[in-house]
Symmetry: C2
Amino acid sequence: MGSWTGPANFSQMKTKFQDKPAVYPRECPDGKALKSLPQALLDRRATSHFRPDAVPQEYLDAILRLGAQAPSGYNLQPWRFLVVREKENRERLQSAAYGQAKIAEAPVVIIAFGVPDDWQNYFDEVFEEGLRRGYGKPEIIPDLKQKASAFLKEIPQTVWINRHTMIAVTTMMYVAEIYGLDTAPMEGFDPIAVRREFGLPANAEVVALLALGFAAEPDKPYGGRLDISEIVYDEHFSRQWNNTSESPDRLARKMFDEIERKSTKPFNPA
Amino acid sequence: MGSWTGPANFSQMKTKFQDKPAVYPRECPDGKALKSLPQALLDRRATSHFRPDAVPQEYLDAILRLGAQAPSGYNLQPWRFLVVREKENRERLQSAAYGQAKIAEAPVVIIAFGVPDDWQNYFDEVFEEGLRRGYGKPEIIPDLKQKASAFLKEIPQTVWINRHTMIAVTTMMYVAEIYGLDTAPMEGFDPIAVRREFGLPANAEVVALLALGFAAEPDKPYGGRLDISEIVYDEHFSRQWNNTSESPDRLARKMFDEIERKSTKPFNPA
């Protein structure tokens, strides 16, 4: 572990790449079959209290490596994760997160963050790696890189990092859930204290905490969800979603098509 | 559809709630079994070109309703989705998103957004609904609401909306993928043009676009991922993750425990 000597130096880093995980657990730690994603979505609740039981190493590896398969713009993967398992460190994190009991209880808590403008340190290598793997023709790469670079210099890094990191956090959460683990995503923390306690760069954007483990008590009841008509719009913000009926436009078009169909000789290949 | 008469008026809205979806497709549109989440993660690529085939209504409903089961802070669900299916509207969206061909090709494109401070319009009702469903005791609610409200007034709404909306977008993307649909999440769009073309509030934060449908051509090759040691840290930012070895702390503790175990009389209940 050469990195013991000091903080990772992004600018001198020769970036390493890897393939999709070939090996990952095919069943839950208790031998049960994996949950389907719909089932995991329906069963999942944010867990308030965890048992001390460890997350088996192969499951933690799978959560991290499958989570890292999430998509990102230009494959730049600006998400970073700090895995906290040592009791003393979980207690330090708990103090930086308003004393939430689950942080000290859960065997694993992941700090999800990103470092603004860090993409510049591995930008060339990500495109080179893509090219090596047959992604795009060499002649389009300069133009693609120029466009990507212009985009990344325009979009606020905070926004870009928050969006991307949450894709990967969400992915990890569901991987844990389909394996029958319990999770608690958290947004309540003091980012300054988290950065200080875990040596993150001063400009690091701390995005979320994710506790992993096994629930110590039955889940809280389901809090319900906003009706789909409250959160989904159909073609325009002036029109709420109504999934029991066709939209007026489509109804009108169907009627028109029907009339046209009847007024035309049917095509008969016989 | 009373909302035809004008834009949704959040402040006068009597918020509706719903339960978990009881009915959703249990197999893919072609009759195949659902993919496991790990398989979907390994198979998924961002789709560049879509066939014109429609997304069956029951699958679109499942994507929206299962997607809405995603977790959110205080269950406030600040994500909003505008579903674009009409050809003319997909072309307008395409123009607002740098002409990306997949937007006009995909049968469904979802605009994911959020409206800053909109949470205030349904804050009380979300807590009341939770209470009705047995979530927490009545006496803790005022304190919980006070804490939530203080948090939401402190955190920049842009950050909060981007984080949350990406949880739900990611959820929808994976629901579509396990059903064998193809997806393309997009970050390249002009938010001002999107707001204008679809009547979104002037302060709406447009977070992402998600195209859904069926790929028209084989996927691009996998671009690889940053090695897990490049993106994961172990206990502290100074220590890169190494999933083939135990951390020095844990190794030291194990050795200590081992020595202690050997120097102590074994517990023997017999």
